[in-house]
């Protein structure tokens, strides 16, 4: 039975999960949730995620939400097929992956997410991007990226010399970020830039990126 992923193709959190599914060559069906109609804030969707956020996953009887937990589940369930994202053969490598998954969650995401919101979501609510919020968060993100620049000068990917779920978690929000005037934060750091070009050119992500067209005409 195929997995059912409830979400939207242009949503970065849904894309996070879909990229993982493609890396693992797992069959799934994307069931669209109409964000603009507020479908995610009503029943029946609320039964899948009481916090009213996409995505949610159904795998037979199992119902999950939170994109990072869903991706970790997929990476674990299909650990014997596709690309190794979690280094399950080595407890220490697996732990390093978890460190940098947490870094994405606790350091990177809180700085990059408000920038994406200001450029892509605020205009839909009839507001111009708030420059103060953008400036505050580009400063924070710059400091985080300085740490990344140093780490990626020592290892090819975040958790080591191997691509992992930690790198994958950064893809979808960064993809939108690169479409903003703030993209120079990535481009002016050579190791970060090389890492970004590498991970964003992976076929699994390319499949997902083509539908990530939030903010473009008609969307």
């Amino acid at each position: 039975m195929a997995l059912k992923l409830y979400g939207a193709a242009l949503s970065p959190c849904t894309s996070r999960v879909m990229t993982c599914l493609h890396e693992k060559e797992a069959d799934f069906e994307l069931v669209p949730v109409d964000l603009f109609a507020g479908e995610h804030k009503q029943l029946p969707f609320l039964a899948k995620n009481p916090f009213g956020q996409i995505p949610a996953l159904e795998d037979g009887d199992l119902s999950l939400f939170e994109s990072r937990a869903i991706a970790a589940y997929v990476a674990e369930k299909f650990k014997e097929t596709g690309n190794d994202l979690i280094r399950h053969q080595s407890l220490k490598e697996a732990a390093e992956v978890k460190v940098w998954m947490e870094v994405e969650s606790q350091q990177y995401h809180p700085a990059i997410s408000p920038i994406i919101f200001q450029f892509f979501a605020a205009p839909l609510q009839g507001n111009a991007p708030d420059q103060a919020i953008i400036d505050e968060n580009t400063e924070k993100l710059g400091k985080v990226l300085d740490v990344y620049e140093d780490k990626l000068g020592r290892t090819k990917y975040l958790a080591g010399d191997f691509y992992s779920l930690a790198d994958l978690f950064h893809l979808s929000f960064t993809y939108y970020f690169m479409k903003t005037p703030c993209a120079h934060l990535i481009n002016e750091r050579p190791h970060v830039k090389a890492w970004w070009e590498d991970i964003s050119s992976r076929p699994a992500f390319q499949k997902v990126a083509s539908a990530m067209n939030f903010g473009e005409k008609g969307n």
Partner: protein, 214 residues
């Protein structure tokens, strides 16, 4: 070998790690970091944690940071010792992960900001932003309503046993109840109240509270 834990014993994120180490009966040594003196931003400490935050651990040659990654590592390393904090099946583990993510993304920021405004800033002689505190409190009410609903269906967040998902909440809820005057968020919700009562009376947590009160 003793695990070195860098951080103050009274801070929330080190407590998350220490609670887990105590549950798993892992020997540790706390190397105090004085946050008020800015020790965590000094070059020595940045070698342990490049983002300048506590905690960080050293286990022989192996180093880790990010409290939620550390607890996942130890829960895995000592899977067969003490309580099973991860879940048994792949599905159970996924539910533990789900509620750990909820703690990280739907709960933590609200608690952190609330405690910062009501407790930490005043302690430092600064003015807290009471409008922000109120907004956080109102959002937390909604989050706790969801927890109440969840905990009416199972004794713990991810199912019928205590796991990392519950453990991860211990330090933040303690701050809310004991320091920030927000105990009503818990006590006014029957199932949340029973859950907090149970998880805050675990021997490992009580031991930590004892150590932190010296």
């Amino acid at each position: 070998m003793v695990v070195k834990v860098y951080g103050p014993i009274k801070a929330a994120c080190p407590q998350r790690v220490l609670s887990c180490l105590l549950e798993k009966d892992v020997d540790f040594q706390i190397l105090h970091i004085d946050l008020d003196a800015g020790d965590h931003k000094k070059p020595d400490f940045l070698l342990h944690q490049p983002f300048g935050q506590v905690p960080a651990i050293e286990d022989g040659d192996f180093k880790l940071f990010e409290s939620r990654a550390i607890i996942r590592y130890y829960a895995s390393k000592y899977e067969n010792r003490g309580p099973n904090l991860l879940g048994n099946t792949l599905e159970e583990r996924a539910l533990v992960d789900q509620w750990l993510e909820v703690e990280a993304h739907n709960f933590n920021d609200l608690v952190y900001n609330l405690v910062l405004q009501l407790v930490i800033l005043p302690r430092m002689g600064k003015q807290g932003d009471s409008a922000l505190a109120l907004t956080c409190q109102q959002k937390l009410e909604k989050v706790f309503d969801i927890y109440e609903q969840r905990l009416s269906a199972s004794a713990y967040l991810s199912g019928d046993s205590f796991t990392l998902a519950d453990l991860s909440h211990q330090p933040g809820i303690r701050y809310l109840v004991e320091d920030a005057g927000m105990g009503h968020l818990v006590s006014q919700r029957k199932h949340v109240n029973a859950w907090w009562d149970t998880i805050s009376n675990r021997p490992a947590w009580k031991k930590l509270m004892e150590l932190a009160s010296c």
